[in-house]
Amino acid sequence: MNWGSLDSFLAMGGYGLYVWGSYAVAALCIAAELWLLARRARRAERTQ
């Protein structure tokens, strides 16, 4: 276990912005792609 508290986990030794900025944007990109995939699948099904 690396982290004594939630605060120290979020702080990432002072690099929180860089570390969480990376993971947050990655999560956003994946969520966006999944949303686009679902939308495209719905439309492809509907317009048959």
Partner: protein, 261 residues
């Protein structure tokens, strides 16, 4: 569309008599198979991601030189690997389509491009966020970063070109030429850190020597890389299903499918 559906039924017939591989080369046969495989790859992606993030954040120790900033590695390296792998796979499908004129090949190439572009963007984005605290700059025009940016433009160019041509078979062929020419960029990205004096560090993992990192760090990175693989396969399968439906709208099997539902 009569021509297209005729050629499709010939292909399907040949596939039916031929090998298993050829059978699934017909979009009609691949569509349900992709639907069955998709949730498995999606579930594996989620499992590997949870395991990788756990190891990356709770097991792997703080880096002696970079402190906690190095934890960007668990998303950066898998994204960068995927950006290159997916391009090679996309170009291989495209080349296969050019040589064998199979329709599914072009569809697979088109299905991979957006996911590849996303991972390329993520490699650049996370690289910038990692570069700032460790190098003191978000961006530098060195060989590794520049060639990775060119990769992003290649993906975007492929998507734009194939979308700009109305006839899907012609779009596939034009895209294939672009994708194949662009493959030259992949070894340039990979070897850039050896060929030129770059700010970017050399490979942390290579086949020829022991990895230059702690075992738990490596484990976290490899788990995340597996998650990225599984995710990419699931996303490509999902997208190719939509592409099949979009392109084969008038084919008999889709019309029949509609009647059943």
């Amino acid at each position: 569309m009569t021509l297209a559906s005729e050629s499709y039924s010939i292909e399907a017939e040949q596939g039916g008599r031929g090998s298993l591989l050829l059978r699934y080369a017909a979009p009609q046969a691949f569509y349900p198979l992709a639907g069955k495989m998709m949730p498995w790859f999606g579930a594996l992606a989620a499992l590997f991601a949870v395991a990788g993030l756990y190891v990356g954040f709770f097991v792997a120790p703080t880096d002696a030189q970079q402190g906690e900033a190095y934890r960007v590695i668990f998303i950066h390296v898998p994204a960068a690997w995927m950006s290159m792998f997916l391009y090679v796979i996309m170009a291989s499908w495209a080349a296969l389509g050019l040589v064998l004129n199979t329709r599914l090949s072009g569809m697979m190439a088109s299905a991979l491009a957006p996911t590849g572009a996303m991972f390329t963007f993520l490699a650049l984005w996370t690289g910038a966020l990692w570069g700032k605290p460790t190098w003191g700059t978000w961006w530098v025009w060195d060989a590794r970063l520049t060639s990775e940016l060119i990769l992003l433009f290649l993906y975007i160019g492929f998507i734009a070109l194939t979308n700009a041509i109305d006839d899907p078979r012609r779009a596939d062929r034009a895209g294939a030429v672009l994708a194949i020419v662009g493959v030259i960029n992949i070894p340039i990205i990979y070897f850039s850190v050896q060929w030129w004096n770059t700010l970017h560090q050399g490979a942390s993992v290579s086949l020829t020597r022991a990895p230059s990192m702690a075992a738990t760090m490596l484990t976290g990175m490899l788990l995340m890389a597996l998650a990225a693989w599984m995710y990419s396969i699931a996303a490509a399968l999902w997208r190719v299903r939509s592409i099949i439906l979009e392109r084969e709208r008038d084919a008999e099997w889709i019309q029949g499918r509609r009647g059943q539902e």
